[in-house]
Each structure stands twice: as C-alpha cells, then as structure tokens.
Symmetry: C2
Subunit: 142 residues, 2 copies
C-alpha cells in the first residue's frame, strides 16, 4: 500500500505481539509504510526498550503515533514517558493503548493528520470493533 | 496460573497474531490454562480454518469464548458461523471481535461464568483499555 500518511506508526508490545499485529495488518491490506514494531523481550530493561522505541521513531521530525498493547504495561509506560518528554519540543508524539487490529488498520490507512479529531476517531474505531456477535443474531434463541 | 475458569478460550486471528497475543498474556500473568490460539495462514481455506477452530474448542461440552482479531475478517466470520451453528445445541459458544491484550487478560483471569454480564464486562474492559495518554497529562500544554 503506497501511503501519504502524515505520521509514522510505532507499535509497542510485550513479546512479539506488535510484530505479529503488524504482519497481520500487512496480510489484510498489503505493505504498511512507515510502521515499525518494537517488541519488549522478557530480559530487556525499560531503558533499553526506550532506546529501541526512540530509534524506531525516526529522526526527521515527522509526527509519531505509538500504539501500545496494554495500559499500565511496560511498553505503554515507557512510551508514555517519551510522550511526556516530548512536551515543549517540536516533535509531536501520540500514545494510545489497548491496540487491536482494527485500530492498527485504521491508523495504517489514515490520510489525516495526527490531531485530536483523528486520535478520537482512532479510539472510536478500536472500541467499535469490539463486538459480541451473538446479540446480532439473536442470543435469546440460543 | 492455576485456573478454575468456567470456559475455554480460543483466540482466532490472521497470521500469528493470536499466538503472539496469548504468549504476551503468559509473559504478563503466567501460564494460561485452557486457552488455544488458532492462526489463519495465508494459504488456508475458510473450511480448513473452521476445522482447526472446532478442534481447538475441545469436546467436553464446556462453554467456549472465541476472541477474534477483526470484525468482518475471515477468522471472525468463520467463528461467527460456528456460533450460529451451535444455536439449539447444548454447547455454549460466544464470539467477540476486536480483541486486545486487555480483553484477553480479563478473560484469562475471569472467575465468572460465560453469561451476558461477563461478556459485557469483557467488552467494557477491552474498550476501557483504549486510552490516549496525553489528555491525562495535559495535551493543551504540548
């Protein structure tokens, strides 16, 4: 997929989840440009993980969306710290937790800039993709 | 983690996402009993995938929660069909899409039965885990 996306994507997770989620997105919509997975391995320190995240963000000043696996987990906490540290700098970093495949696809195919509206849209897409199938097909008849 | 969970868990996804998500859950909370990942590979037919899902569900009549990666994707569609086909049988199958790690952890550590309340709680946990960190730390000052 050729992209004119206005921001980079970094997917951050425990273990190989980020890599696998990005691979699944590619399986569905083709190559996803400017998107990198940063997996936290069990032996990796938060400091080393933070360095890996920063390296993955690039250095051309382009906005970065960090999608993390779990609120309160180490990948999210380290990414949040990087967000905090970017305050007052020219680098725009957004960090959203609870990533599911629908959110990643929404971000990967986004043509919008990384602003409050598009972030809200991304969160809404993630939440809307959480659906129990049975009420749609009449759970009461089960 | 020893479990007295009242239901089995099957995680269903494109590619290796289900396996990786389950591995990440284990990395966080230790062994997750009665939980199986069923990954759809690019060359796999929906029929073969359905067979793999059914095999993963066990045959002891215990309720099954299928957590899928993406609403409308093949894993979810095949799982939904299996849910539909279970109507009128004694086997209770629930299928929820849009799985993120928070949802999987919530399900893995659940001590509840698989009923409407617990399913709603699971969906709520998944939605609540989708959080943009910056509004919490004052995006207006960025």
């Amino acid at each position: 997929m050729a992209t004119t996306r206005a921001f980079r994507i970094v997917v951050a997770s425990h273990g190989d989840l980020a890599r696998a989620m990005l691979d699944s997105a590619v399986m569905i919509c083709g190559p996803v440009a400017d998107a990198v997975a940063v997996d936290l391995q069990p032996e990796q320190s938060p400091e080393a993980y933070g360095q890996a995240l920063r390296s993955a963000m690039g250095d051309d000043g382009r906005p970065v969306l960090i999608l993390t696996d779990l609120l309160g987990g180490t990948p999210h906490n380290v990414a949040s710290l990087i967000c905090l540290e970017s305050r007052g700098t020219v680098l725009s970093i957004v960090c959203v937790s609870g990533t599911n495949l629908g959110m990643l696809l929404e971000a990967a195919t986004s043509m919008e800039s990384l602003d409050a509206d598009s972030i809200a849209g991304l969160e809404a897409a993630g939440r809307a993709s959480i659906v129990d199938v049975m009420p749609r097909v009449d759970r009461s008849s089960v």
